[in-house]
């Protein structure tokens, strides 16, 4: 599909190009933003942030997009990816400037720190535990930390910005699935890597997206080019079987996990 904004951009009429671009894609932009927040103030703030980012450095992002233009390439996927990243940036930038995030202000002290480390700074859960222990709570046990972590996620999910925040950090595993300490978590990752070693990278990614990231099977099939969701389920079935047999070979039973 022809992109009418590219010609004026190439001839130096950037503002005309911008008007045409926004006219063409504003509905898509708003739709993408509304997936993360229904708050009218937030929607408009993020929209303004996206527009600023697209105009930045003399429309550098749009110029690069113009060089990639291809009548068969839908720009919508790229734009949704841009909106996703900029929404995350917007939140982290805004809350990173505050001493205590507005979302975290009502949380107990440990949960405030967890929020800052995981949601704002992007640390892993284990890193957040080590930071918390080394700076503020040397006696904190990993199990206690996991309870605080789960409580933090519950509070965040219940907040009015829960959808945006869900994009900033992966949900922790339920406590029964979580390793009892960070060293065991690292060991389990090594065990998993060995168990999945025989699968192709695509099959490993299918398992990761479906089981861990909880992506719908239809989307996994689309992204990986599988004909049907049946292929996704079969690969997941095989992968879970491979993990089970490695656990058995390693002498690990369900109750040991």
């Amino acid at each position: 599909m022809a992109e009418p904004w590219i010609a004026p951009l190439d001839t130096g009429d950037s503002e005309r190009a911008w008007d045409l671009f926004v006219e063409r894609y504003r509905r898509l932009l708003f739709g993408a933003i509304r997936r993360y927040t229904g708050e009218p103030d937030d929607v408009m703030d993020v929209f303004a942030h996206v527009c600023e980012a697209l105009r930045k450095h003399d429309f550098a992002r749009l110029r690069r997009c113009a060089t990639m233009a291809d009548p068969t390439r839908p720009l919508s996927t790229w734009l949704v990816a841009v909106v996703h990243n900029l929404t995350v940036d917007w939140f982290r930038h805004r809350d990173g400037r505050r001493r205590v995030s507005a979302v975290a202000a009502s949380l107990p002290p440990h949960q405030q720190r967890i929020f800052e480390y995981v949601f704002v700074q992007g640390h892993s859960h284990v890193e957040a535990y080590e930071l918390l222990r080394s700076r503020e709570a040397p006696q904190l046990l990993f199990g206690e930390f996991l309870a605080e972590l789960s409580a933090t996620y519950r509070a965040v999910r219940a907040s009015r910005r829960g959808n945006i925040l869900g994009e900033l950090a992966l949900d922790p595993p339920p406590v029964p699935d979580a390793a009892p300490d960070p060293a065991i978590a690292a060991e389990q990752r090594t065990l998993l890597a060995r168990a999945l070693d025989d699968l192709s990278p695509d099959d490993r990614l299918a398992v990761q997206l479906y089981v861990v990231d909880e992506m719908p099977a239809e989307h996994v099939a689309h992204v990986l080019g599988y004909a049907t969701t049946k292929t996704v389920y079969n690969h997941v079935y095989r992968a879970l079987g491979a993990i089970r047999s490695h656990l058995a070979q390693a002498g690990i039973r369900g109750g040991d996990l």
Binding site: E52, H84, N85, P201, V212, Y233
Partner: protein, 262 residues
């Protein structure tokens, strides 16, 4: 071929196939599979083992960071990956990166989800979807006026960018199920701005209410208590409460399990 091997190794009686067993083991509601599992010790054991393995996989989240690194592909590459436009040579390093990068998998998840929803909406929206154009156009125009004004110091003291009041009546749009479907686990519809809650009604072909549910979400999981029969037509609609005592209803949508649609 691979599916046949899997079935021949693990299935000696009509046990549910992986496409039923896997989602059920991971939490999907499926009354038929649940009935089988309740009476089948082999499947119960298998599900328990699958859940342990999935728990181990999910436990690895504790070590994942969700931040951008210099190795992260840019948005064009990730978009081309989602759209299946990368050559095998370009695709392989992206897959390898995604296996280790939760941040980029988040982009892929968000992008593919939007693409799927957009496709579903464009297939079923018709005239109702176009009702969005007026408020969204006004909102974009209002934002652009502010963006095009001289900026000066960006101290946050300027008048806020605010969406104009939405005075249009936007009804929710039933997305799935519609027409002939292999099974129904959830009912999904489009969101309505500033809605307080949704009310879903499921009807038999004779017009009797089979099930009703209120929620603030845009989907509901069908409970095990609602058993749908194959080759039988059902209807559903969803109403959105936009103000006190004010509800906006979707069209009535028809679906049936299996077989060609009417």
């Amino acid at each position: 071929m691979r599916e046949f091997i899997i079935r021949s190794l693990h299935v000696t009686s009509p046990h549910p196939a992986p496409e039923l067993l896997v989602p059920y083991a991971l939490g999907a509601k499926d009354a038929t599979t649940a009935r089988h599992v309740a009476g089948c010790a082999i499947c119960r054991t298998e599900i328990e083992e699958m859940q342990q393995a999935a728990g181990l996989l999910r436990g690895s989240v504790l070590l994942e960071r969700r931040v951008e690194t210099p190795e992260c592909p840019d948005e064009f590459v990730l978009a081309d990956f989602v759209d299946g436009r990368l050559s095998p040579e370009a695709r392989a390093p992206v897959v390898a990166h995604l296996l280790t990068c939760a941040r980029c998998r988040g982009v892929v998840t968000a992008t593919s989800g939007f693409a799927a929803d957009a496709a579903a909406l464009s297939r079923g929206a018709g005239r109702r979807w176009r009702r969005w154009s007026l408020p969204l156009g006004l909102a974009a125009a209002a934002a652009l006026v502010v963006l095009l004004l001289p900026r000066g110091a960006d101290d946050g003291s300027s008048p806020g960018l605010r969406e104009p009041t939405d005075t249009s009546v936007v009804a929710p749009l039933p997305i799935a199920p519609r027409g002939a479907v292999p099974r129904v686990d959830r009912l999904v519809w489009s969101s309505v701005p500033r809605v307080e809650r949704y009310r879903l009604r499921l009807y038999t072909g004779d017009g009797d209410v089979l099930w009703t549910k209120e929620t603030t979400d845009t989907s509901v999981t069908l409970p095990n208590s609602v058993v749908l029969s194959p080759q039988v037509t059902y209807f559903w609609k969803v109403e959105a409460q936009t103000e006190w005592k004010r509800w906006v209803a979707s069209d009535l949508v028809e679906f049936r399990l299996g077989g060609p649609s009417r």
